[in-house]
Symmetry: C2
Subunit: 155 residues, 2 copies
């Protein structure tokens, strides 16, 4: 059997594990209580007012059933409002609140710091190359997960 450290799947999980831990630590140090998904959803709702949940899920490549719970918690925290769309009563229109905008603005430095910390072992050039390779591998495998990225599906 191959060493775990030589298996891409193991490395993927491990890097993601560290990335999440760093994110949560930085955000907590900044005095906030937001998970990576919650941040991604909040930021995307901010730039796409009145977005529905399916479109949101596609833009950040999350499963729709996961998004339901994530939005529950963002609403619970008062950062997002969820209301039935008048044009399509199946859909829920998501809107960021003033409080949500405030949190988003204040939390950004911590999020950026986290991105740097999770790459702290790499030089600038190496970090750029890692991101390029991840993007390429992800693009090739996009359709292989249940929650592929769906760009510009804005409805």
């Amino acid at each position: 059997m191959r060493e775990p450290n030589e298996m891409p799947g193991h490395l993927a999980r491990r890097f993601q594990q560290i990335a999440v831990a760093v994110f949560l630590a930085e955000v907590e140090d900044a005095g906030f209580d937001l998970t990576p998904v919650q941040y991604a959803a909040l930021a995307t709702i901010n730039t796409n007012p009145a977005i529905d949940q399916i479109t949101l899920a596609g833009l950040i490549a999350y499963d729709r059933t996961t998004i339901t719970g994530v939005i529950d918690r963002l609403v619970q925290k008062g950062l997002v409002v969820r209301q039935t769309s008048s044009r399509d009563r199946r859909a829920r229109e998501l809107t960021i609140t003033d409080e949500g905008r405030k949190v988003l603005r204040k939390i950004t430095p911590a999020v950026e710091a986290a991105q740097r910390i999770m790459l702290r072992g790499l030089s600038e050039a190496e970090a750029a190359e890692l991101m390029r390779l991840l993007q390429k591998a992800i693009a090739a495998g996009n359709e292989l997960s249940r929650a592929p990225l769906r760009e510009g599906t804005t409805g």
Copy 2:
């Protein structure tokens, strides 16, 4: 705000998401029902007979509380035996069963195939470089998660 595709944390999650989906699909096609963690645990128990759960968790960089549940399911499936150690009655000695060995042997081609598929967008050189950079970033961030890799802590 940065594009999600330019944030290392987002790329980490996305790549891991695809890696897990590919793993599960290949393993299921081969007629098995094992998750990535379950496979990692089973393979590590196979090469480290009578290992305890903490040491196992360290070798594959999983949280100890997660391992408890993973072992529960491996025992349930009849692939692993868990028994109290006679030398240290706090510890549980984990042993692979004949059935576990059989599954491990038969499942290996599917696992290897999954590793190739998740990198199918990259050339050989690119794949090698991606793995090198992930290893380097992970090594630098090893202590930042609750479940760091603990090599050779056997005993």
